[in-house]
């Protein structure tokens, strides 16, 4: 379950590109993800006009040539809402994945290298893992109030232990290697040993884990929105588009199914991309390391 020190280093230039090209599923997922990201960035150009435009006479129209994903209870174009919502949802996923990776890496490096820290830090990590991530996030966001920062922080918190465990496992297996011993013997400060000699071994599994966290964070944002503690209605995200569909679901199922499937395709593309990267970068990194929220 733990990654080991034999993970191929990223020193060979272009190994990521190489990994993508040798795996058609991963390549396709990457392209799909790029298309979704672009559709979110250029949402205004693609859909034209204001996604919040309320048209009471056009409410709850089924999907058709005029409105691809139908309209919601206020007569807003669900397709436009979904594309605009992608901006926030992808951003939340990206920020949470990067923050989780960064914080988890720092803690993992320290706890793996400084042995006296280990028992305390790992018990704290076990404690965080014992709290259901979604409940913690719902509680935090509802208490502090929804904002980009609180939602990202709430999602990140639950992801930290997995990264910490991953990095710590790599550090533990690499620290006894002769090149690390040699570096220490030469009197290189611990900080530099960690950064220059140990961190590079963590990069490959970290990239894979960050991809999975990105997928999990997008899902978490949607669940927060669905449970009613996501972004306020004036900021469209996949979570609150889905939340608003709940009330009219029986009459207008497309208000949930269209954004839900769009979200699912995105998350699936990210997961398949992660699987492809894992197969190429580190075949030993088991999916079991990703028991997430």
């Amino acid at each position: 379950m733990s990654a080991n020190g034999q993970a191929p280093s990223l020193a060979r230039r272009g190994i990521l590109i190489d990994a993508l090209l040798t795996n058609r599923v991963a390549l396709f997922s990457g392209a799909l993800l790029l298309a979704i990201a672009l559709s979110a960035v250029f949402a205004g150009l693609i859909t034209g006009g204001d996604p919040f435009l309320i048209r009471p006479r056009l409410r709850l129209r089924p999907p058709g040539s005029e409105f691809w994903f139908g309209t919601d209870a206020l007569g807003r174009d669900v397709f436009a809402l979904v594309l605009h919502g992608g901006r926030i949802s992808l951003l939340v996923g990206l920020f949470a994945a990067l923050a989780g990776a960064a914080i988890g890496t720092v803690i993992g490096l320290l706890t793996g290298y400084l042995r006296w820290l280990d028992p305390v830090v790992m018990r704290v990590m076990d404690g965080i893992m014992a709290i259901p991530g979604i409940l913690f996030a719902v509680a935090l966001v509802s208490l502090v109030g929804p904002s980009l920062f609180t939602i990202v922080a709430a999602i990140t918190f639950a992801e930290i232990p997995r990264v910490t465990r991953l990095v710590r496992a790599v550090v533990l297996s690499v620290r006894e290697e002769s090149y690390v011993r040699a570096a220490e013997g030469l009197g290189i400060p611990a900080r530099l040993v960690l950064l220059r000699h140990i961190l590079p071994s963590c990069i490959a599994p970290l990239i894979v884990q960050t991809t999975y966290m990105f997928a999990a964070a997008i899902l978490s944002e949607a669940v927060l929105g669905f449970l009613g503690v996501g972004f306020p209605p004036d900021i469209p995200s996949w979570g609150n588009v889905l939340a608003e569909g709940r009330a009219v679901f029986q009459r207008a199922p497309w208000t949930i199914i269209a954004p839900g499937l769009f979200l699912a395709v995105t998350v699936m593309a990210v997961n398949l991309l992660g699987d492809g990267l894992r197969d190429r970068l580190d075949p030993r990194l088991s999916r079991a390391a990703k028991v997430s929220s």
Binding site: R123, L227, I257, A264, A288
Partner: protein, 303 residues
């Protein structure tokens, strides 16, 4: 092992609710309360004491099994939890049952027929299970099988002790919804764990002795692949608890998950704290049981 972990959980839960903005006394008393009423409530709840003293007092109470009383209903938190436990337990247990009955054989067959179409199909289903949010699956099931086909009731809960047949119909869609993510996880782990075992010498020996493939797979290979599978079932309890909260909201089941969301939205602090501790205790307890189960599954493991 379990005690320090629960202590960490208690500390996080305490800090989460006390360090967040918003005055608990104000929430309890309502916006219109005068300063004297607020001061009285603060004194009653011990909110006027230093944070460390509050923490220690609170910890002392929960160690003695007192999780406090709900601010809204004035009912003890423990009573509230036990009153709502049945739907959640029934839902979670049936989801685990479905998972073990379906996902373990699926993963085993995928490993046995490695790289075949059935392997790819199982892996693809597993990715789908990880990617489609549970509530979207729940709503699609409701739409297809309840609204359009009218096979299952849309929402609601019937106790299996009151009317087993109706309970089964009410439970079918929620437990399938909840099981899907779990199945994605377990089938993957079963497959990868079994793939490793199938390459071992004793499997070759078992085949050479003339065992039929079915017996090699179920009797020789699977028990030796069991430890990682059981480990992940334990870790997956966290996944299951999050899933319970969402599923109960979709299908309108009056379980502990709904209680949690209602308490959070109403800012009923003692109930939220109690529930988080309760869920963490379940997670820690299940994983403790699993540590014990290792000894039964794999006699080489001793503590």
């Amino acid at each position: 092992m379990a005690v320090p972990v629960m202590l960490v959980v208690a500390t996080i839960v305490f800090l989460l609710l006390r360090l967040s903005p918003g005055d608990p006394a104000l929430i309890i008393a309502g916006e219109t309360a005068g300063p004297e009423a607020l001061a009285r409530i603060r004194a009653e709840m011990g909110l006027d004491r230093p944070l460390v003293m509050q923490y220690l007092a609170w910890l002392g109470e929960i160690v003695r099994g007192n999780l406090g009383t709900s601010v809204l209903s004035k009912i003890p938190v423990l009573t509230l939890i036990f009153d709502r436990l049945e739907p959640t337990l029934v839902l979670a247990l049936s989801a685990i049952l479905i998972t073990v009955v379906v996902a373990v054989p699926l993963g085993a067959i995928a490993a046995w027929r490695h790289n075949s179409w059935i392997d790819r199909a199982v892996m693809m289903l597993s990715v789908v299970g990880f990617s489609v949010p549970a509530f979207v699956i729940g709503y699609i099931l409701i739409l297809l099988l309840s609204v359009k086909a009218d096979i299952f009731p849309v929402q609601g809960y019937v106790s299996p002790f009151a009317d087993p047949l109706a309970a089964l119909r009410h439970l079918a869609l929620p437990s399938i919804t909840l099981a899907l993510v779990f199945m994605a996880l377990i089938s993957r782990v079963t497959r990868s764990s079994l793939l490793e075992v199938l390459g071992e010498d004793f499997v070759r020996t078992a085949r050479a002795k003339g065992n039929v493939e079915r017996r090699v797979l179920w009797r020789h290979a699977l028990p030796n692949a069991a430890v990682p599978i059981i480990t992940v079932i334990g870790l997956g309890i966290a996944l299951l608890i999050s899933g319970v909260v969402v599923t109960e909201s979709v299908f309108n089941l009056p379980g502990v998950g709904r209680l949690t969301i209602d308490a959070i939205l109403a800012r009923d602090y003692p109930v939220v704290q109690g529930l988080m501790l309760f869920f963490a205790l379940i997670y820690v307890g299940v994983n403790l049981l699993i540590d014990i189960a290792y000894v039964i599954v794999d006699p080489r493991i001793r503590y």
